[in-house]
């Protein structure tokens, strides 16, 4: 229903046609005709003294739960994501349901809410979730009780074990208690697959350091980052690498700004932040890395054991194959050597995944040669959980084909979609006696299951994770299960016990338990364990160091028992467990250290597969490999690089497009030897010539109602291949591309390539900025090099700058500082805004008309000269002289005493004049009353109204959070002003941002974050010359002097742009906003008025 509507399939664009009118012209004219008799008719039965509202009911609790105060939020510290993707967050609940995910302020990191956590929230309320267990008989599914389902599973497990067949598991990355339980349950036949391209890194660690793990990186200490395509600002390394990068990039920390160099055929969202982009051909990364490594080793006189890795280095050959200048290789090596001990080299993930294992080996060796081990790279806080490669999945399928698997548990992973599997998969799976789908979301893999046991998700379940060694995260239920689901742990415990399984783990010697040892010392001090109510049953851990087996009655007991054994120790456990629950984690991370053993295996670079055009697949910065494709937010929020929504598109460079004769947004056919897809093409500069890029994550066939039929699946163009370390080979295949149609009906929200000389984005020279940081400048903004008068000088001269007086703000003027240097374009702010403010998801057809409802968008502006991108989050600027306010005929929008540009929805009559007058295109009009299909409506934030048709809406700086914080602060003092730290990250966007790019505060307070930012040498206002006095000010991006001698601060940048990537699609819209990305016409109109 409503407008969370499914996007129309590409195959039938007619579905996108104008929705049917319910108020027809005939009705309208009829109503008009009746107008004269209106008063007479309305007199009957209408009494102005009565209230015409529906009677509502109040349903109080029968027994009031202790933790709930109706009308106030309760927060639960919990963990979203599994295995290496886990992150501590707080779930905000109202009256027993999760309404939002906010940052956990007690976590030992900067605040951040991963996009994945927000998407998991929407997934939690997905209407496609299974409502109970199901069993398949032939082609038909029927409901079954949990008891019957578990009985079926137990019987199959027993039968398999008796027949000597294995019980196998295929699921996402897992750690902690569940890992041990799965290991016991499957007798070691558990495969953990993540499509993040990091399997090669684990294989390389095994070869070089003798142990399988993902090494630790500390980007915060780096002065130079060389990345071979690692998407460390979206999908590689989680939130931690984003937070660390933001710290390294911050000119106020250490008086340095990290220089980030990228070696990759495509930029992608992460690469768009790079200072230097070396456009290496796909598959050439290993050779380039070898050449760089050999040079680094020579420059640093490295003579360690890893030197053997660089044996095959050949700079000239590498440069030739990569299609880059040999001097570029020399440049990378010199910068690494210059920053000895403070550089970091990152292997490639999916984007650099032509030979992941080899590439990772060489990158590790460069890090060792550059003396980074123990400083920015090494052992210590590593990921030690299982990292399985594509070869392991292949082995599992081979075992299935051989008929040796009795029961296969398919957890929340979708190999049929995510892996380039051919038709033989179905055959392999058909040989398994019982496939049990444990995910509560329907997908392509679940379709092969015989039995579906929907397990509870992260908001409903207990659990623990260890994404980094020593960082123990707790997961606790934030609400009761929405449907008839059970915890995965309970399913395993119950059926395992029934099948008489035993622990595989041998009782270990006491010294192998560091936690127990650490606690032994404190035993005398702590005394008797407190009895705390929430620990009801003493965990049944008979053997303190042995396996937990299937002893604990419930999954919660199991998790507690593991924490008692491995993490907190038995001493005073109840109290410490409750402390950990409240905090969400227990932090015992070891320090970063140099790896103990180092070996230097020789590396052979992969051969070139040939072909003039190469395919590069990459993880979509929002949807990743496709797990969250069915979440409407993931489709609605614009792709950071292209602005595309609800679709897939092929990306090529202007040069490639010209040589192939392909127009922007044409329908193209992309084929490899594995398959063919048809979709649209987007031409942009973030792709090297001779490369055609396609994001993973879309093209679901059975992924639920929102994902099904959206876009194309990039893995269908690949063949399952593994490199020497058993890691998946993602890249290197040849491709053919040809135009097959004029238009692919792509919908993109970016209308412009660059800021057209209006200086929406500015840059400051990084070298100078690093010296002074954001220290107060005598001339704020002078560092941007744009000596643009902040206000129109003619107005200033005429003394008519202010027709109206600027409003006075006695206590608060809320403002924001947005640091474009910190913003990486990840889009977390936009998703957080959707979650917080009940924004409607409108779908592809309406976005095409320019009717998207996002309150904050991340604009992407290309530099006119260098291959550089600046991302710029734009929300309502809460102008001091707001152009929208003066034109509202009914005062629905006005200036509050707190400096906010308020919007009173029930006063709005929908003239849309305000939106027409807004130079920032921050306002959104409700052309419809949007409905939230159940149970999405349960996620609606009760503190924010749901707007109906005919009402204008826009960013409010999350006024509901301001109101709540003010109210809480009034409990302390009626008159004092709120301190800065209560406000700094108050709005949802600022709270979610892993880079701290958005700072909120009180502009009346001279020491608040945004006030201080305003005094910086790189501060500027967007379109400030329009005399709008925005409350948002931007901080210019730090740009290094480009390799080609380009100077930061493009004061008079040319405005010409190659025709191939001009304005992407005209979006004529009678009433809405013509061009959301850019505002040339409006800006001019504003100036014209000002001139007058």
């Amino acid at each position: 229903m409503g407008i969370f509507r499914r996007a129309p399939r590409d195959s039938s664009p007619s579905e996108a046609a104008e929705p049917k009118t319910s108020l027809s012209r005939r009705h309208f004219v009829a109503a008009l005709g009746l107008g004269t008799s209106a008063s007479a008719l309305s007199a009957c039965g209408w009494d102005d003294n009565r209230y015409y509202t529906p009677i509502e009911q109040i349903l109080p609790y029968v027994v009031h739960p202790d933790q709930i105060v109706p009308g106030t939020p309760t927060f639960y510290a919990t963990t979203i994501g599994t295995g290496r993707g886990a992150w501590p967050v707080n779930a905000r609940t109202r009256e027993g349901r999760v309404v939002n995910v906010v940052a956990n302020p007690q976590a030992p990191f900067a605040r951040a809410v991963p996009k994945e956590a927000l998407l998991a929230l929407q997934r939690h309320y997905s209407p496609d979730r299974l409502k109970g267990p199901k069993v398949r008989d032939g082609g038909t599914w029927s409901d079954v009780t949990w008891e019957a389902g578990l009985e079926k599973l137990t019987a199959a497990v027993k039968k398999a074990r008796q027949a000597g067949k294995t019980v196998a598991y295929l699921g996402p990355s897992r750690t902690g208690a569940l890992l041990e339980l799965l290991d016991d349950y499957t007798d070691g036949n558990a495969v953990f697959w993540e499509s993040d391209g990091r399997d090669g890194e684990a294989a390389a660690s095994e070869r070089m350091f003798g142990r399988r793990f993902l090494p630790a990186y500390d980007l915060a200490k780096a002065k130079y980052i060389l990345s071979f395509g690692a998407e460390f600002l979206s999908s590689w390394g989680g939130e931690l690498s984003k937070i660390q990068y933001a710290s390294a990039r911050n000119p106020n920390v250490d008086h340095s700004i990290v220089r980030y160099a990228l070696v990759s055929p495509i930029m992608g969202q992460t690469g768009a932040n790079a200072d230097d982009w070396y456009k290496a051909a796909p598959g050439s990364e290993v050779e380039v890395a070898l050449a760089v490594g050999a040079l680094v080793a020579r420059k640093t006189s490295y003579n360690g054991p890893a030197l053997g890795v660089f044996a095959g280095a050949d700079t000239a050959k590498a440069a030739a194959r990569a299609g880059i200048d040999a001097n570029a290789i020399e440049e990378m090596a010199s910068r690494i050597a210059e920053n000895k001990g403070a550089s970091v080299v990152l292997p490639g993930g999916v984007t650099g995944g032509a030979a992941s294992t080899e590439l990772a080996l060489v990158c590790y060796a460069i890090n060792l040669a550059a003396n980074n081990d123990g400083r920015t790279f090494g052992d210590g806080p590593v990921f030690e959980g299982p990292v399985h490669g594509a070869a392991d999945v292949g082995k599992l399928l081979a075992a299935a084909k051989a008929g040796s698997i009795g029961v296969l548990l398919l957890d929340d992973v979708n190999p049929v979609f995510e892996l380039p599997l051919d038709a033989s998969v179905a055959e392999s799976l058909s040989k398994v006696e019982l496939i049990v789908g444990l995910s509560s979301h329907p997908d392509e893999s679940n379709a092969n299951a015989h039995l579906l046991l929907p397990t509870s998700d992260a908001f409903e379940d207990w659990g623990d994770e260890e994404p980094v060694k020593g960082l123990h995260l707790v997961r606790q239920p934030s609400m009761t299960p929405l449907y008839d689901s059970r915890s995965l742990g309970d399913v395993l415990l119950v059926t395992g016990r029934a099948a008489e399984m035993k622990s595989r783990r041998q009782p270990a010697a006491a010294e192998s338990e560091p936690a127990a040892e650490a606690n032994a010392g404190k035993a005398g001090k702590a005394g008797k364990a407190d009895v705390v109510a929430s620990v009801e049953a003493e965990p049944a851990a008979a053997d303190p160091s042995g396996g937990l087996g299937f002893g604990p009655t419930t999954w919660r007991d199991y998790v507690q028992a593991r924490w008692q054994r491995d993490v907190l120790g038995a001493d005073n456990f109840a109290t410490r467990w409750n402390e950990a629950l409240g905090r969400g984690l227990h932090d015992a991370r070891p320090r970063l250290s140099a790896p103990g053993t180092v070996m230097g295996p020789a590396v052979t670079a992969p051969a070139d597969a040939g072909g003039s055009l190469k395919l590069v697949v990459f993880l979509h910065p929002i949807r990743g490999a496709g797990k969250f494709s069915n979440e409407p937010w993931s489709q609605e929020v614009a792709d950071p690089m292209t602005g595309g929504v609800w679709d897939s598109w092929v990306e090529v460079s202007p040069g490639t497009a010209a040589s192939l004769g392909i127009e922007n947004e044409a329908l193209v056919e992309l084929s490899t030897d594995a398959g063919t897809v048809q979709t649209g093409v987007v031409i942009h500069r973030g792709i090297a010539d001779g490369v055609v890029a396609l994001a993973l994550g879309n093209g679901h066939e059975a992924g639920g109602r929102y994902a099904a039929g959206v876009g194309v699946n990039a893995t269908r163009l690949l063949k399952l291949a593994t490199d020497s370390g058993g890691a998946m080979v993602w890249q290197g295949g040849a491709a053919q591309l040809k135009a097959v149609g004029a238009s692919a009906e792509l919908v993109r929200t970016f209308r412009h390539e660059h800021d057209q000389g209006k200086h929406h984005v500015r840059s400051a020279p990084a070298e100078e900025l690093a010296k002074v940081g954001d220290a107060p400048s005598a001339h704020p903004g002078d560092m941007t090099g744009i000596h643009h008068p902040p206000r129109d000088p003619r107005l200033v001269a005429a003394g008519s700058l202010e027709f109206y007086d600027l409003p006075e703000h006695p206590q608060y003027r809320f403002g924001m500082a947005v640091d474009t240097n910190a913003c990486t374009g990840c889009g977390a702010c936009a998703i957080a805004c959707y979650a917080e403010n009940n924004l409607a998801v409108v779908g592809k057809a309406l976005i095409k008309k320019g009717r998207e409802m996002n309150w904050i968008r991340v604009n992407r502006y290309w530099d006119t000269e260098a291959d550089r991108v600046t991302f710029m989050p734009v929300m309502c600027q809460q102008c001091g002289h707001a152009p929208c306010e003066s034109v509202c005929p009914v005062l629905a929008t006005y200036h509050t005493i707190d400096g906010l540009n308020a919007m009173v929805y029930n006063r709005c009559v929908g003239t849309r004049y305000c939106a027409n007058n807004c130079p920032y295109v921050a306002r959104r009009f409700n052309f419809h009353t949007y409905r939230w299909p159940e149970p999405f409506n349960l996620q609606l934030n009760p503190d924010v109204g749901v707007r109906s048709a005919g009402v204008m809406e826009k960013c409010t700086f999350c006024v509901q959070r301001i109101r709540e914080t003010k109210s809480a602060y009034r409990d302390q003092s009626f008159t004092d002003t709120m301190p800065d730290d209560a406000l700094r990250q108050l709005p949802a966007c600022a709270d979610a941002c892993p880079s701290q790019a958005i700072t909120f505060g009180n502009l009346v307070d001279p020491r608040s974050g945004p006030t201080e930012a305003r005094r910086s040498g790189r501060s500027y206002e967007m379109l400030g010359d329009l005399n709008t006095f925005p409350a948002v000010n931007y901080l210019a991006k730090a740009n290094f002097h480009a390799t080609g001698g380009h100077h930061g601060g493009h004061a008079d940048a040319g405005h010409g742009d190659a025709g191939a990537h001009g304005d992407a699609g005209a979006h004529g819209d009678a009433g809405g906003h013509g061009d959301a990305g850019e505002h040339e016409g409006k800006a001019k109109a504003g100036k014209a008025k000002a001139d007058h």
């Binding site: 015409y52 529906p54 009911q57 029968v62 707190d898 906010l900």
Partner: protein, 245 residues
């Protein structure tokens, strides 16, 4: 007046729409916007459940006219709860039962548990308590009809008002006088009357915006709490976003 039927707009709606349309016809821009008026693709024919913006979102019909308006109409309740007995006779504090009023935006209608805390022992056999006990036994929540109902676009923070020193009666009227037990009708002369409680509640104040703003401009607690900043506070209190969400 007949209840609305699907498919054709009932007279009241047409009348209202006609009025709106008549007024707006003078505004060409809006009419132009109206020509491309749309509803959603998959909307069934439940007009005006998915209304166009020119139409009121909720049209009144008899079932929806809230009684309990300040005109004195009473709203029936599932249990005849005598505020009179608890507040006036027994002199109980409002916040004994409405115990979240100080900490939340809601005053909180007490959970059945709170009632049963006393009524397990007190007046066990009274007819209204029997209803309460039955609900307690069944575990079903009591479905009270909302008397003091603010529109959904208003955020009203009970806690702030309580903490500021606003008395409950200032908005809720003399709740303590409501629900005074009356002799049951049909009691013969000279017989001891059976006292019954009418299961109704009456709203005594309008809860309209102007009524709210009167207090927001003049309430003595503003001076008490804000001292020399009280003028600024009064300005803040008449700001739309103080209450509108």
């Amino acid at each position: 007046m007949p209840r609305p039927t699907t498919g054709s707009a009932p007279p009241l709606r047409v009348a209202f729409a006609a009025f709106v349309a008549f007024v707006l016809a003078a505004t060409p821009m809006i009419v132009a916007g109206c020509n491309e008026a749309e509803a959603t693709n998959d909307t069934p024919e439940t007009f005006p459940m998915e209304p166009h913006y020119l139409w009121p979102t909720v049209m009144p019909d008899e079932g929806q006219i809230a009684a309990g308006a300040f005109t004195g109409e009473a709203l029936p309740q599932p249990i005849g709860f005598p505020h009179y007995t608890h507040v006036t006779t027994l002199n109980m504090d409002c916040q004994y039962c409405h115990f979240v009023a100080r900490k939340s935006i809601h005053a909180g209608v007490p959970p059945t548990e709170t009632c049963m805390g006393c009524h397990k022992y007190v007046k066990k056999d009274a007819p209204e308590i029997t209803k309460l006990a039955a609900l307690w036994e069944s575990g079903e929540p009591t479905a009270w009809n909302k008397v003091h109902d603010l529109p959904d676009h208003v955020v009203f923070n009970h806690g702030r008002h309580v903490k500021a020193g606003v008395n409950c009666t200032e908005c809720h009227g003399q709740m303590g006088l409501q629900g005074q037990p009356q002799p049951a009708p049909g009691t013969a002369e000279g017989e001891a009357p059976v006292m019954v409680v009418n299961a109704v509640n009456i709203r005594e104040t309008t809860l309209q915006m102007g009524w709210c703003l009167q207090c927001h401009a003049t309430h003595p607690s503003i001076d008490t709490n804000y001292g020399e900043k009280s003028d600024q506070r009064r300005a803040e209190l008449k700001d739309c976003w103080t209450c509108h969400k």
